[in-house]
Symmetry: C2
Subunit: 202 residues, 2 copies
DNA sequence: GCGGCTTTCTGACATTTGTCATGAGCGGCG
DNA sequence: CGCCGCTCATGACAAATGTCAGAAAGCCGC
């Protein structure tokens, strides 16, 4: 029984190399490749793969968003996410989106092939190290608005601009930022942004 | 005549896959692999490759630093840098370090193989798109001190901390930051940091 | 040595941020 | 219902930041 695999990664070099390696496994066949989120979706619709191996960061729509659409459209297709930068929050988002596997790109090709089989069989696989990170990072203490405002503050915009973009009064924005900063134990909004980023809370 | 290649990338999956793909070219042979900067250096010393294919971001020492050491120790070994995120400044640094090739990971394996041969023959190859970016980004308008202070400000530290770490008075730090901000046309230090990062000036 | 340059500092000022108290409105939960 | 937490707001104050003018010290070239 062969497993039909969809491969999505924006880096051509990686994607091609990966396809070549997976082709060495005689029970796996790469039926489609994609370089962006939307393309991955289109390919999945066209080729109905058993397992979709998605890069987390892709132009268009990231791996998790693609996974969400995929679960709705192709319930039979299991999603496995592969990533270079494993932030705890990404893992959490991915799991919530119905992703069955989540591994860093540091695994070997053999391991990946095994994990593809595991996922195809309906089981889950999460890299132990990433799982440990996610658990130790815990849940976000931020409320929805705090996270939203913090995100708008991420690129260094002044309060006035954040207020405008969030349709809030400047005073309110400062209050949210202040509480976010204190919840995160940061010195100022910018370190707060950095911390939240590291823990995957934004 | 076969080209002896050293492959360095911290992502096991990528490295293995790449090795497999390059092995398909019958004039290329991967004589060593490394997962970190120091390891790449050690491997190069041990195996004397003709071309070193280095990832830009690696633990230990980044691709450019490895390239610098390599040029000193093995003048016969040409360096080719491969990267996911092509910032203009990286390219400039790399070229200054004597790197002969600089390509994004979006190229195909065939292209990469060709480029390896190009580089091995003593020619240079720089991805046209990255080159265009680098040219349009131009030279940094920042003085050495401005860049230094801006870098220390990068993680959101308050002025007092920057002053201490740079052994400057707080007032001086603010002056440098102010002039850097105005030179970059930014609204505040944080957008300035972001802009300088994007252009590769820090 | 003089003029020009950079580096470094100081002091003063306006603006922006961070912090706090306080309050109104709303939705959920026991 | 009453309580609690989230949302949104205002006002006031302290602290940090941004901006500017001015000035001492050192270095380089002529």
């Amino acid at each position: 029984m062969t497993v039909r695999v969809l491969l999505a990664d924006d880096e051509h070099l990686i994607r091609g190399a990966l396809a070549a390696l997976l082709a060495l496994e005689d029970d796996l066949v790469v039926v489609a490749e994609a370089a962006s989120g939307p393309e991955a979706l289109a390919m999945a619709r066209a080729h109905q793969p058993d397992v979709a191996v998605l890069d987390l960061q892709m132009p268009g729509a990231d791996g998790v968003r693609v996974a969400t659409s995929l679960r709705a459209e192709l319930p039979g297709c299991q999603v496995l996410i592969v990533t270079s930068h494993g932030r705890p929050g990404h893992l959490k988002r991915a799991l919530a989106a119905g992703v069955r596997g989540f591994v860093p790109k540091t695994v070997s090709a053999q391991r990946l092939a095994e994990i593809i089989r595991t996922v195809q069989a309906g089981n889950r696989y999460v890299d132990p190290e990433l799982a440990a990170d996610a658990i130790s990072a815990g849940d976000s203490p931020l409320t929805a608005r705090e996270a939203e405002v913090l995100e708008l503050a991420a690129d260094g915009a002044p309060v006035a601009e954040i207020a405008e973009r969030a349709a809030l009064s400047p005073g309110t924005v400062r209050n949210y930022l202040s509480s976010a900063v204190s919840k995160l134990g940061a010195e100022n909004r910018h370190t707060a942004v950095r911390l939240a980023r590291e823990r995957g809370w934004v």
